[in-house]
C-alpha cells in the first residue's frame, strides 16, 4: 500500500496536519503567528547547514528551528520589541539560508522543493519521521495541556497555581521546531506557518471550548491536506500551495457562514 506515491503523500499530509493543528491553536491564542513564521524560515538555514555538513535535512532543520525559537523567546523576554525582532530574524534567516545554499556548488538542490514542499516525493522513511514527529508533538501537548492552557489564559494565574509559564513556552517552542522539521517536506518553508494558523483560525468560529477547537482544527487540516492533494492531482497544480489554498477557502467559508448567521 505504501508503494503508491499518492498513498504516501496522503499519509504525509494528514500526519503533518495532525501535528500542526493543536499546536496551531496555541500559535493563534498566544499571537505567535509571526513566531511560527520566523521558526519556519530558519529552516532554510537548517537545510543549508545540513547539506554543507552532509547530515540529514530533518536534523539540520530541527536544530535551526530550535535555535531560532529559543533565540526569539530569550530576546523578547529581555524587552526587545518582539514584533521587530521576529521581523528581522524571520527574513534574514531565510535570506541567509538561500545565500548559503547557493554556495553549495556541485550539489544539485531542488530549491523549490524546500521552499514550497514536495509531498509527492515523500518516501517511507520520510513517513516514519512525519508520523513519529506528529505523535511526539501531540503527546507533549496532551501531557502539558492543562498547564499550557492556564499559562495561555494568564501567566500570573499559572504562577499562582504553582506552574512555570516559561517552561510551557519552551514546550511550545520545541513542538514548533519539530513541526517545522516534519512539515518542510509537505508544504515547504514558506507555507508551514499557514498550515499552523489557517485550520486553527477556521476552527475558532465552530468551537465552544479549546479542546473542541484543537480537534476541529485537526479535522479541517486533514481535510485540506487530502482535498488539496486530490485537487492538485486533477488540476496539475503544485501540491503544497494547493493544500494551503484549500485551507484558505475553508477559512473564507467559515467567516462568511458565521457572518450570515449573525446577521439573520
Amino acid at each position: 500500500m505504501l508503494d503508491d506515491f499518492m498513498i504516501r503523500a496522503a499519509l504525509a499530509g494528514v500526519g503533518t496536519a495532525l501535528a500542526a493543528a493543536p499546536l496551531g491553536c496555541f500559535v493563534v491564542w498566544r499571537r505567535m503567528a509571526y513566531f511560527g513564521d520566523a521558526t519556519a524560515h530558519a529552516a532554510m538555514l537548517g537545510v543549508a547547514l545540513a547539506l554543507a555538513f552532509e547530515t540529514s535535512v530533518f536534523g539540520g532543520v530541527l536544530a535551526a528551528a530550535l535555535l531560532m525559537g529559543v533565540t526569539v523567546t530569550t530576546l523578547s523576554g529581555r524587552g526587545f520589541a518582539a514584533d521587530t525582532v521576529l521581523g528581522v530574524l524571520a527574513h534574514s534567516s531565510l535570506a541567509i539560508g538561500l545565500v548559503a545554499v547557493s554556495f553549495l556548488s556541485g550539489i544539485p538542490i531542488d530549491l523549490m522543493g524546500y521552499l514550497l514542499g514536495d509531498i509527492l516525493a515523500v518516501g517511507k522513511s520520510d513517513l516514519a519521521v512525519i508520523w513519529g514527529g506528529a505523535l511526539a508533538v501531540n503527546a507533549l501537548i496532551a501531557w502539558r495541556w492543562s498547564a499550557l492552557l492556564t499559562a495561555t489564559v494568564g501567566s500570573d494565574l499559572a504562577k499562582a497555581s504553582g506552574m512555570d509559564p516559561q517552561r510551557e513556552q519552551l514546550a511550545l517552542t520545541l513542538c514548533l521546531a519539530v513541526t517545522v522539521a516534519i512539515a518542510i517536506k509537505v508544504v515547504g518553508v514558506l507555507l508551514i506557518a499557514a498550515l499552523l494558523v489557517i485550520p486553527a483560525a477556521t476552527a475558532r468560529s465552530l468551537s465552544r471550548t479549546p479542546e473542541a477547537m484543537a480537534v476541529t482544527a485537526a479535522g479541517l487540516g486533514s481535510l485540506a491536506a487530502l482535498g488539496g492533494l486530490g485537487l492538485s492531482y486533477r488540476l496539475d497544480t503544485p501540491t503544497g500551495p494547493t493544500i494551503v489554498s484549500l485551507a484558505a477557502a475553508m477559512f473564507l467559508a467559515s467567516v462568511l457562514i458565521t457572518g450570515l448567521r449573525q446577521t439573520t
Partner: protein, 255 residues
C-alpha cells in the same frame, strides 16, 4: 496549624523592576482568616506586592515565606482572554484542574452568580467576569485569597456588595483574604487590618487607625471620612485575637 502561625511571612522585601525599587523593606504577616487590605496611590507597588506573593516576581532582597502546602486563590486585576480562544465559564473554572459540575455550580453560587457554566467568557459583563474569577479562585479551596483591585469597573454599591460577599466567603470558606484597593473608604469597613503602601509601609492597623493616621491623610487627604462612616457596619464576631494588636507607627526608610 496554629492560628498565630502566619500563612505568609514577608520580611524585608524589596522588589526591583528595571532601575526602580518598586517595593522597599516590606514587613508583613498574613494570618489565617483575617482580611487585610492594602491601599495606596497608583504606582505604590500594590500589585507588585501581590505578584511577589504568588511567585510571579522575584524579591531583589528579603524573603517571602509561605506556610508549606499553602493554597492560593488569585484574582488578578484584569484578565484578557484572547478572542480567538473559545472558553466556556465551566471550562475556565476547570483551569488548571478538572472540577466536578457540582463544585462548579457551588462556586458560582458562592461568588454570587446564577448557573451560567455554559456561557462564553467573552459574553460576560464586567461584574460577572470578575465574579467568575472569584469563583475560580474559590475552587482552589484557598487558604489565602488574593484579590487585586477586584471591583474595578463596578459602581460604588456594586463594590460595597462585592466586599460584603468577600466577608461572607471568608466566613464560609475560612480563608484569609489579602485585598488591594484604591477605593479606600469603601473597602476599609470590611477589613480587619489595613496596610497603607507607598513603596514602603506608611502605616498599618485597624481601618479607624489608618484612616486617622497623618501618613494616610498626607497621601489621600481627609475627604473620605464621611464615606467611611456611611459604609461602616458592625462586626458581630471577634477575630482580633487572630493577629497582633493593631499598631500604628511610621517608618522612615532610606531608599
Amino acid at each position: 496549624m496554629t492560628a498565630s502561625e502566619p500563612l505568609v511571612a514577608i520580611r524585608g522585601l524589596s522588589v526591583r523592576l528595571g532601575d526602580h525599587d518598586i517595593l522597599a523593606n516590606i514587613d508583613l504577616d498574613i494570618h489565617p482568616r483575617e482580611i487585610v487590605t492594602v491601599v495606596g496611590p497608583n504606582g505604590s507597588g500594590k500589585s507588585t506586592l501581590v505578584r511577589a506573593i504568588i511567585g510571579a516576581l522575584r524579591p531583589s532582597r528579603g524573603s517571602i515565606a509561605r506556610r508549606p502546602g499553602l493554597r492560593l486563590g488569585y484574582v488578578p486585576q484584569k484578565l484578557h482572554i484572547d478572542p480567538t480562544l473559545p472558553m466556556t465559564v465551566a471550562r475556565f473554572l476547570s483551569l488548571p484542574n478538572r472540577r466536578r459540575a457540582q463544585d462548579i455550580a457551588d462556586a458560582l453560587h458562592t461568588a454570587g452568580l446564577p448557573d451560567l457554566h455554559g456561557r462564553q467568557m467573552s459574553a460576560l459583563s464586567g461584574g460577572q467576569f470578575q465574579r467568575v474569577l472569584l469563583a475560580r479562585a474559590l475552587l482552589e479551596q484557598p487558604d489565602l485569597l488574593l484579590l487585586d483591585e477586584p471591583t474595578q469597573g463596578l459602581d460604588q454599591p456594586g463594590s460595597a456588595a462585592f466586599y460584603h460577599r468577600i466577608e461572607e466567603v471568608r466566613e464560609r470558606v475560612g480563608c484569609a483574604v489579602l485585598m488591594i484597593s484604591h477605593e479606600l473608604h469603601v473597602v476599609m469597613s470590611a477589613s480587619d487590618r489595613v496596610v497603607c503602601l507607598n513603596g514602603h509601609v506608611c502605616c498599618h492597623g485597624t481601618p479607624e487607625v489608618v484612616a486617622t493616621a497623618p501618613e494616610y491623610r498626607a497621601l489621600f487627604g481627609t475627604g473620605t471620612q464621611g464615606a467611611l462612616a456611611l459604609y461602616r457596619h458592625t462586626h458581630d464576631h471577634a477575630h482580633d485575637h487572630d493577629h497582633p494588636q493593631p499598631e500604628h507607627h511610621h517608618k522612615d526608610h532610606a531608599i
